[in-house]
């Protein structure tokens, strides 16, 4: 009786999840089996045709590659820098509150705004970055940050790292603060060096938090859209076009809802795989979820 009442109580929550999460996912999957152009009046079931097209679409594979590159570099850098920042602001020092708040600033600025600011910083002709580099004598001529296939992706990663390192730092800081001080004291008594303390106390205790940071950041980075859309629009020559940018163009610029949904499903599938991978590692290592 009591357990039945319990189920009754969770129905509203389940319904909410069904309406806002499960229904859209199923709907996008169904859409991906159709050829549907609202403006052209085309709407017919084509089975797995869109998936066949996807496999043969060089632009899709290029976008997948770009997404992987973006995700790998931005997440790695964010973790390393975030760790450094967290260790730094974890020590007691004057103005601690102020510094901690200041560190969070990039995270608080809306991505669209920060991307626009960075676009002007990276502007080849008038941007402050080239101006500074030229004046310090680090380069001889303006570098074409957003306009060459060599630099554009690096520029996009920089913007993401600038923006999201604070987020990683914040989570890691929270993790650092729950490590008991006694452990460090005991280690000191045993004559451990700072590196040994970091390697054998900090890292093992932080592992679950690190996995959470990696999971969140990987999922976010894999779906990156706004920063890249504003900085380069996916160019030059599709060199920064990620899956989400490509899906957006197909869905909202050409209104090819069927094929656009197919790309969206592929993003979803990839994100699911990544999550499952991380979560199984978390479980095996006896982390938070065990």
């Amino acid at each position: 009786m009591e357990s039945r009442f319990g189920y009754l109580l969770i129905i509203p929550a389940l319904l909410t999840i069904a309406v806002v999460a499960i229904y859209p996912i199923i709907d996008v999957f169904i859409l991906s089996l159709y050829e549907r152009f609202l403006t052209l009046g085309i709407d017919e079931f084509t089975g797995l045709n869109n998936y066949l097209k996807l496999v043969n679409d060089a632009r899709f594979w290029n976008a997948l590659k770009n997404t992987a590159v973006f995700t790998f570099f931005s997440v790695s850098l964010e973790l390393i820098l975030g760790m450094a920042v967290a260790l730094f602001i974890n020590r007691p020092f004057s103005l601690q509150g102020l510094i901690r708040a200041a560190v969070l600033l990039p995270w608080a600025v809306p991505t669209v705004v920060s991307a626009k600011i960075w676009a002007w910083i990276f502007n080849t002709d008038l941007g402050i970055l080239n101006y500074a580099l030229l004046n310090f004598g680090l380069i001889d001529a303006d570098l074409n940050w957003l306009g060459s296939t060599g630099y554009a992706m690096a520029a996009a990663i920089t913007v993401d790292v600038w923006k999201t390192t604070p987020f990683a730092a914040l989570l890691l800081l929270a993790g650092l603060q729950v490590i008991p001080d006694d452990l460090y004291k005991a280690a000191s008594v045993d004559g451990a060096s700072r590196w040994q303390k970091f390697r054998h106390i900090t890292i093992p205790h932080l592992k679950p938090v690190i996995m959470i940071v990696l999971l969140f950041r990987t999922l976010d980075a894999f779906r990156v859209f706004d920063a890249i859309y504003i900085l380069t629009g996916g160019g030059p020559a599709n060199s920064t076009e990620t899956l989400s940018v490509y899906a957006y163009k197909i869905l909202f610029q050409t209104l090819d809802f069927g094929y656009g949904s197919t790309i969206a499903v592929s993003v979803f599938a990839a994100v699911m795989l990544i999550s499952i991978g991380y979560i199984s590692i978390l479980k095996r290592r006896g982390g938070l979820l065990s």
């Binding site: 609202l38 502007n123 008038l126 957003l146 380069t232 160019g235 030059p236 060199s239 197909i250 610029q253």
Partner: protein, 421 residues
């Protein structure tokens, strides 16, 4: 204290709800339009004039973000849902066939007499006509023009060039003489986006080629189109166009030119007034002319600009038409041109005395706009453009040759167009 707060909140809510329908029997006409720099304030004045003339109607001006893609997306989402939240809206010149085919635009065929229609520029009218029916009325027009530094051209005794070869020669001569590593010869909009298609189209059409032929079949890999694209790339390789041209949108090119770093620039007419405001580094040094062309062909100017259409689901179509009629009047267009610098869609306004006195380049501009060509008038245009943006960007950034990129574009375009025929 707490109770007091609740009273305040409730009375505030009541006040707001009264504001919504408190205008006593007036028809509410909603006009949706994208934000154009500096325009919104004056637009409100113009709307007020319409209201004074028509006491029975209350026009609500709703401004959308200036980014065209976002407006496009907004309209598609709401029109697909059959929204009647707005009555009149401003459409980019490339949307008309797409929206007309989808059945989202009220047909305006027969609303104007042929005589009245003859007052409008031919390019926009062509773009607003789909399957022989008029679906929108040209509101203001844009066309690609060539800006140049008159002072530098005079200093080196160079005539404003008519051909691309002439432009290249002129730029080279001035760059050599000035010996300023910051000075670029020629820039256009080269970022991977719609603006790149607009710019490249002027090179392609200026070489007697095109994207689609008259029958709507793709011809983008013609020898002359390849030659035009290869020429653009060559301008970069020869150092006439800066490498950063692969990143520039309208505003980036305007800032570089406005900073005195560029000799020739392709842009829309809006920049002219900004260059001549107080404090501008290039004030009184800028002139405008029709885009150059290749030997033996004619200049082409990509048509841009905005149209006014009526939402098919609108409940106030008569008022909506009255409003469009008002906005496309001689007097209204003259005021918009004088006060905000928008370029009229009516030919007759270009010879208006007051306007020519204030903006002497109007006469030259009319010549350009008379030659302005719409981008392919096709409901497939968004897909065509998506392919071309990528392929043109590949050529300019050096990841494919013009021939290879355009051959691939031809294949893709053929697939798109043949999908439903």
């Amino acid at each position: 204290m707490f109770r007091k707060l609740i009273y305040i909140v409730i009375s505030a809510l009541l006040l707001f709800s009264c504001g919504g329908n408190g205008d006593g029997g007036k028809t509410k006409l909603v006009f949706k339009v994208g934000k154009v720099a500096g325009q919104s304030g004056y637009l409100a004045q113009i709307v007020e004039e319409f209201e004074n003339e028509n006491p029975g109607v209350d026009v609500v001006l709703e401004i959308l973000p200036s980014i065209t893609d976002q407006q496009h997306q907004f309209y598609i989402t709401s029109l697909e849902g059959g929204s009647s939240d707005f009555d009149v809206f401003a459409l980019d010149v490339i949307w008309v066939p797409e929206f007309a085919l989808a059945g989202w635009l009220e047909s305006l065929e027969g609303k104007f007499t042929d005589e009245q229609l003859a007052n409008f520029l031919p390019g926009p009218l062509k773009a607003d006509t789909y399957n022989g029916e008029l679906y929108a009325v040209p509101w203001y027009v844009d066309g690609g023009v060539l800006y140049y530094r008159e002072d530098l051209l005079q200093k080196y005794n160079v005539k404003p060039p008519d051909t691309f070869a002439g432009l290249k020669q002129a730029a080279r001569k001035i760059m050599k003489g000035e010996d300023n590593s910051k000075l670029a010869g020629f820039i256009w909009q080269g970022k991977q986006y719609e603006g790149l298609v607009c710019s490249a189209l002027e090179f392609i059409e200026g070489n007697c080629a095109g994207i689609l032929d008259d029958g709507g079949n793709p011809v983008i890999n013609s020898e002359r189109a390849i030659e035009a694209l290869a020429f653009m790339k060559q301008l970069i390789d020869d150092g006439i166009a800066p490498e950063y041209v692969t990143t520039t949108d309208e505003e980036a090119t305007r800032h570089s030119f406005g900073n005195g770093n560029v000799i020739f620039m392709r842009n829309w007419p809006y920049a002219y007034n900004i260059f001549n405001t107080e404090g501008s580094k290039v004030k009184d040094k800028v002139a405008v002319k029709t885009m150059p062309h290749f030997e033996g062909c004619e200049s082409a100017s990509t048509l841009g600009g905005w149209q006014l259409g009526i939402n098919k689901f609108s409940k106030h179509k008569d008022w909506a038409w009255k409003f469009i009629e008002f906005m496309s009047r001689y007097e209204t267009q003259k005021k918009m041109a004088l006060n905000v610098g928008l370029k009229p869609s009516r030919k007759d306004v270009y010879s208006d005395e007051d306007l020519v006195k204030q903006q002497p380049f109007m006469a030259e501009l009319l010549n350009t706009l008379l030659q302005a060509v719409p981008r392919p008038v096709s409901p497939y245009y968004p897909q065509i453009s998506l392919v071309l943006q990528a392929k043109f960007s590949e050529v300019l950034s050096g990841s494919s040759s013009a021939e290879q990129a355009l051959n691939e574009a031809q294949t893709r375009l053929t697939e798109i167009i043949n999908r439903r025929k």
